[in-house]
């Protein structure tokens, strides 16, 4: 049963992968506080170490081309156990949506609407999310290519504008932090921006692409996102130096330092607005995945009526999930990566192992495209 009948192209999926990583750039402080000037190395290590997981995600997609993650779980582990694990994934997706909405709200308060309560911003964003999600994946991902391009443009322009303040000495000394910090940094990087890509497994039946191209789109999307993240990290360290880990939003601080002549200064608000736009897209996407997951578990034929309910559930969670940003950061470094790892790394690998043991899928997937393009589809 396919709840959402709309579809997206392979290229749009690729940009969604890239964009999904890019929209986490506000979280550089999680890694910076652990590995400081070596955080750019942490990005490279985690990127390299996560490549096999991209293969795992890609293989799940190729082996079960007509099933989203919840359907795969039910096929592999049986209806009862599959649903039970599915509930775990629902909790995970719900938390991801809440945390990202909180990040968006806090960032908006710091940059633009300093006196506006978080709840007002959360309601407004959720209103947009619910409205978009009701229209299906095609609307949710429609602007992924545009947003990815916008993000890359912002990164490149900002690097040019702060280039005169960048000091290459700030990257030294290399490998000067305690070894455990590198391990923790790589763990945080792998689970928080990269591992969150597991949500894209919920889209499998809605992607229209050739089976042979699945890996290509996954890897290119992942590379665009990873390189963007690396560039941001290099920018932050080279400009902020030994203070980079001190700021809760290093990107915003870097934007604030832009001062080129008398024209290009105090323009962080432009970058902030763009980042808010990008984060909104991520929240919309995560809300879609959460709604779809719940609809799948409850075996609903239609998920439109569920959107508002989920939206209403997320708003109070945003207010109560963390009392302050220190708790958020501590949890992001010490608790969340361990729990997230179960959903992002352990369970997907387990799915492949059990599927191999049970010789699933029983019917071999067609060698033709995962989904044949539909002629009258509005792309």
């Amino acid at each position: 049963m396919m709840i959402d009948k709309t579809q997206i192209s392979g290229k749009r999926f690729m940009f969604t992968v890239a964009y999904f990583i890019q929209s986490s750039i506000l979280l550089t402080s999680f890694t910076l506080s652990l590995t400081r000037q070596d955080s750019w190395l942490t990005v490279i290590f985690s990127f390299t170490l996560f490549l096999p997981m991209i293969w795992v995600y890609r293989t799940i997609m190729v082996q079960f081309p007509d099933k989203n993650l919840i359907q795969v779980l039910e096929t592999v582990f049986g209806k009862f156990v599959g649903k039970l694990i599915g509930i775990g994934f629902t909790w995970f997706f719900l938390n991801l949506t809440t945390l990202n909405l909180r990040d968006l709200g806090v960032f908006t308060i710091i940059t633009v609407m300093t006196d506006t309560p978080l709840i007002v911003l959360a309601i407004m964003c959720m209103f947009v999310a619910v409205y978009s999600v009701r229209k299906g994946i095609n609307v949710v991902c429609r602007y992924s290519a545009a947003f990815t391009t916008l993000q890359i443009t912002i990164i490149i322009i900002s690097i040019f504008l702060v280039f005169d303040q960048a000091k290459f000495n700030n990257f030294l000394p290399i490998f000067d932090q305690p070894q455990l910090n590198y391990l923790q940094g790589v763990h945080v990087m792998s689970t928080i921006p990269f591992g969150e890509l597991v949500v894209l497994l919920m889209l499998t039946p809605n992607i229209r692409m050739d089976k042979k191209l699945v890996a290509k789109y996954w890897y290119i999307g992942f590379a665009i996102g990873g390189v963007s993240f690396l560039l941001v990290m290099l920018r932050e360290i080279s400009v902020l130096g030994n203070l980079a880990h001190l700021f809760s939003l290093p990107s915003l601080t870097t934007f604030r330092l832009i001062h080129v002549g008398t024209i290009f200064n105090r323009i962080e608000i432009l970058f902030a607005m763009a980042l808010i736009l990008l984060l909104t897209f991520k929240v919309v996407f995560l809300t879609y995945v959460t709604v779809l997951t719940i609809a799948q578990i409850m075996e609903l034929e239609n998920f439109e009526n569920l959107c508002a309910v989920i939206g209403l559930l997320i708003v109070p969670l945003v207010i109560t999930i963390y009392p302050n940003s220190i708790e958020n950061q501590t949890s992001g470094q010490q608790v969340v990566p361990f729990i997230w790892m179960i959903f992002e790394i352990v369970l997907p690998i387990f799915i492949l192992i059990v599927a191999a043991v049970k010789n699933l899928p029983k019917q071999k997937p067609k060698t033709t495209p995962i989904k044949q393009p539909q002629k009258n589809e509005n792309n």
């Binding site: 000495n169 001190l246 330092l257």
Partner: protein, 393 residues
């Protein structure tokens, strides 16, 4: 019909949220736009600080003027004392008829007395406060910092804007002159790196007040210690960063003086660690033009250029050695040699760091200055030389 009613209902429900977006808006006339902040030690209570704010005087109707807002009016000065900046700002806000708007602050001033007590806590306040700018200059005032905000200048009504502009302009010579809030924080956060911050003073000249850059003050353990003269800063700049567009007056003898315009000076410092012996090696390339010549009449233009290159080399070396000696005398590593060792050779630094205060005065400096005087300007020789040559014919 049902759909229509649903839409209308939704609009009514959402309108309180959407339309109240401007509930906290403030018109420009309702704001006290702070352009400068000065921090002093309270005269009667040592534990208190005085915070003085310079505020742009906005009159109703100023917004439509072609000139910048408040250009014709003297700035407003308000002052309050307490233990913390936060408490003072709260009190000032309560007592004021307008909201104190902090986002356009241009300069942060500390009095020398306060700087001697330590400025880390105050720098931390500005660093933490989401309203303050990180690229604004931090300046120490020889005397009361509030006097700088109260000063009446000919060039600019608001001394804070004057200072911000002049330090921004100084960046064209070298970035190291313009100590931004983030630079001050960056250096104060390093345990062994002693930052230097520029010092200004209010001086009376005829009937007008004047703001004068008098030097730089060294900070050790976050506290201001010794000051050195503005002329000695070149010995620091020539090692730390590229220097552009500055004039050096070189006196060869009582009658022979040359002013050389430095187009570009590029230093490349490296630190060599040999056990406990530290050597600072600095290769320097200088491109200069002749700006002004007095004397040197007996020399041919070609010989002059050669001599000027030699004089420039010696001058650059002397300036560096003099300023480095000041740093060593005060055991104040404002050149950041400790940072250089730590970045390039962390193991050596781990061995040296506990004894750094004793090791730094023994650091040896080796200079390799290469100078090139490339242009004589619009003329090849002085009128005096031309006159002598014409007389000889």
């Amino acid at each position: 019909m049902k759909k229509f009613v649903a839409i209308i209902s939704l609009v009514f429900i959402l309108s309180p949220i959407i339309l109240t977006a401007c509930w906290d808006n403030r018109d420009i006339e309702e704001l006290h736009i702070v352009t400068g902040i000065a921090l002093d030690v309270n005269k009667t209570n040592d534990n208190f600080i005085d915070v003085t704010l310079q505020i742009t005087n906005i009159q109703p109707g100023d917004a439509g003027k072609s000139q910048s807002v408040g250009n014709d009016d003297k700035p407003i000065i308000i002052k309050k004392s307490s233990k913390t900046i936060g408490d003072i700002l709260k009190k000032l806000n309560n007592e004021s008829n307008k909201f104190i708007f902090f986002h356009h602050i241009e300069v942060i001033l500390f009095s020398m007395d306060l700087a001697k007590k330590g400025i880390n806590n105050y720098i931390d306040f500005f660093l933490r406060d989401t309203r303050s700018r990180l690229e604004i200059p931090v300046i120490i005032v020889d005397g009361r910092a509030e006097d700088v905000l109260r000063v009446e200048l000919q060039e600019e009504n608001q001394s804070s804007i004057f200072l911000a502009d002049s330090f921004q302009g100084a960046k064209t010579i070298s970035k190291e002159i313009h100590v931004r809030l983030i630079d001050a924080a960056f250096k104060l956060a390093c345990k062994h790196h002693c930052p230097i911050i520029p010092v200004v003073k209010v001086e009376k000249e005829m009937e007008n007040d004047k703001l004068v850059d008098i030097g730089f003050v060294m900070f050790m353990d976050s506290k201001a210690t010794t000051m050195f003269a503005i002329d000695d800063i070149y010995g620091y700049l020539f090692v730390k960063d590229e220097v552009h567009f500055t004039d050096l007056e070189i006196v060869a003898s009582e009658t022979d003086i040359v002013v050389l315009k430095i187009n570009k000076l590029v230093p490349s410092p490296t630190v060599i660690v040999q056990g406990d012996k530290i050597i600072l090696e600095v290769g320097i390339n200088v491109d200069a033009n002749i700006g002004e010549v007095e004397g040197f009449v007996e020399l041919e233009p070609k010989e002059q250029l050669k001599l000027f290159e030699e004089l420039l080399k010696k001058d650059v070396e002397n300036r560096i050695l003099k300023t480095f000696a000041i740093a060593q005398e005060n055991k104040c590593d404002f050149y950041g040699i400790s940072e250089m060792i730590n970045k390039k050779n962390p193991r050596a630094w781990a061995r040296l760091k506990d004894r750094w205060k004793d090791i730094f005065p023994t650091v040896e400096v080796k200079l390799d200055v290469k100078t090139a005087v490339k242009s004589t300007g619009q003329t090849n020789q002085t009128l005096e030389m031309e006159k002598i040559r014409n007389d000889d014919r």
